[in-house]
């Protein structure tokens, strides 16, 4: 039971996010109105994606240092699930933007940066599939994975500074932190972030265990 506590925590937090996020009172603002509730579903996707890509990068570094195939499997599967969360973030954002900005895609700089980041990780999987040798695939793709994760930083820190964004908190748009003076949103947002990150790790963990079993039966 000791090892399962975080899974229980994940379920509780996500249930709380769903119920409180959809039902609790939110600050009424022009244009945003009730769509402000998307904060609990859209933004945590990015947190989860970055956390999973981070785990992927760290396990790639560990693979390069130690050379155990388990680390390679961890790196692939976390990147895989991270990609899933990235796509979900893009979709939840597009639905929200359809109601607030008037169109699902408005060439906003953050949308473009996300698309670039996802392309980088799609390239990671294309690179992997071009090898037949397991060890060579693991080594070369680990090098690319570290490089790609490092190049996410210019995407996050340089490009958004060059252009204005439609996102709340950019280009003269007020950020959410100015709305929740009574901390209404924060009470749901922080648990939501933790809950979604735990869910991402949980999915990745199941996939990793599956791949490890496959590897074991493959080697024996």
């Amino acid at each position: 039971m000791k090892t399962y506590w975080w899974k229980a925590l994940c379920i509780v937090l996500l249930l709380y996010t769903l119920i409180a996020g959809l039902l609790m009172p939110v600050p009424a603002k022009d244009i945003l109105n009730e769509t402000i509730r998307n904060l609990h579903f859209h933004v945590p996707m990015w947190f989860t994606m970055i956390v999973l890509f981070g785990i992927s990068c760290v396990s790639s570094i560990q693979y390069l240092r130690k050379g155990s195939l388990q680390k390679d499997i961890v790196a692939v599967e976390t990147a895989n699930v991270g990609l899933l969360f990235g796509i979900m973030g893009l979709i939840t954002g597009a639905i929200w933007a359809n109601y607030t900005w008037g169109a699902p895609w408005s060439d906003d700089i953050k949308q473009l940066c996300t698309a670039i980041a996802l392309l980088m990780y799609f390239a990671y999987f294309v690179l992997r599939s071009s090898f037949t040798d397991i060890d060579k695939r693991a080594r070369v793709s680990a090098v690319y994975n570290v490089f790609a994760f490092a190049m996410l930083f210019p995407l996050i820190f340089i490009i958004p500074r060059l252009t204005d964004s439609l996102h709340p908190g950019n280009g003269g748009n007020p950020a959410f932190s100015q709305y929740d003076l009574d901390n209404e949103l924060r009470k749901v947002f922080y648990p939501a972030v933790v809950g979604w990150i735990l869910l991402g790790i949980w999915i990745a963990q199941i996939r990793i265990r599956m791949r490890l079993l496959n590897l074991k039966s493959f080697l024996s």
Binding site: L127, S130, V140, M151, P154, L162
Partner: protein, 219 residues
Amino acid sequence: MQTIKQILALVQKDLMQEWRQKYAFYGLLLYVASTVFVMYMLLHQPADKVWNALFWVTLLFISVNAVARSFLQETTGRMLFYYQMCTPEVFMIGKMLYHVLLMAIMSLMCWLLYIWFLGNPLIRLGYFVGLCVMGGSSLGIAFTLLAAIAARAGQNAALMAILGFPIMIPLLMLLTRISEIAFQEVYQPGLIKMWWMLGSLDVFIIALSLILFRYLWKN
């Protein structure tokens, strides 16, 4: 001292190879010329903004081709020889210097042809030429590690394009922004900051490539 000698020897070897296989170098020059000519046939005299964007895209394609070749022409036997003779860092710096030289020539060539065919919208010629050499070298540096990865996969320039293009977008965006001032008399806030960003991005990529190449080159 030893390291510098080794690096220079590596660059010299690459230049020598280029000199002996002149057809490849001329092939690359012809690639630049035909790309620019295609642009000319399609657009004749484009607007400033289009000119600027096309110029950097052309340079991107040239750099993929120029850099991919230099790693693919190294045979396994020759790599083994380098492996015994020098450290991965020395080898990487040598390759990067060679790519910088190659791309500086190619970007100047590209610039000349652009002026020739697509007209000259530039007000600040010197500024743009400097930026053009700097941008070309940055692309050459950034593609060096990716070329090594693609060569390991035994693949051609196609894989390099897939791996490289998303990563090059920040660099290209910075370059088009910085070059805007060469076209018109405008006040551009944060120009110096963008130069610093370009410089630090280059340093960042060089450091990352030097650290990571060590793992690529063992077999």
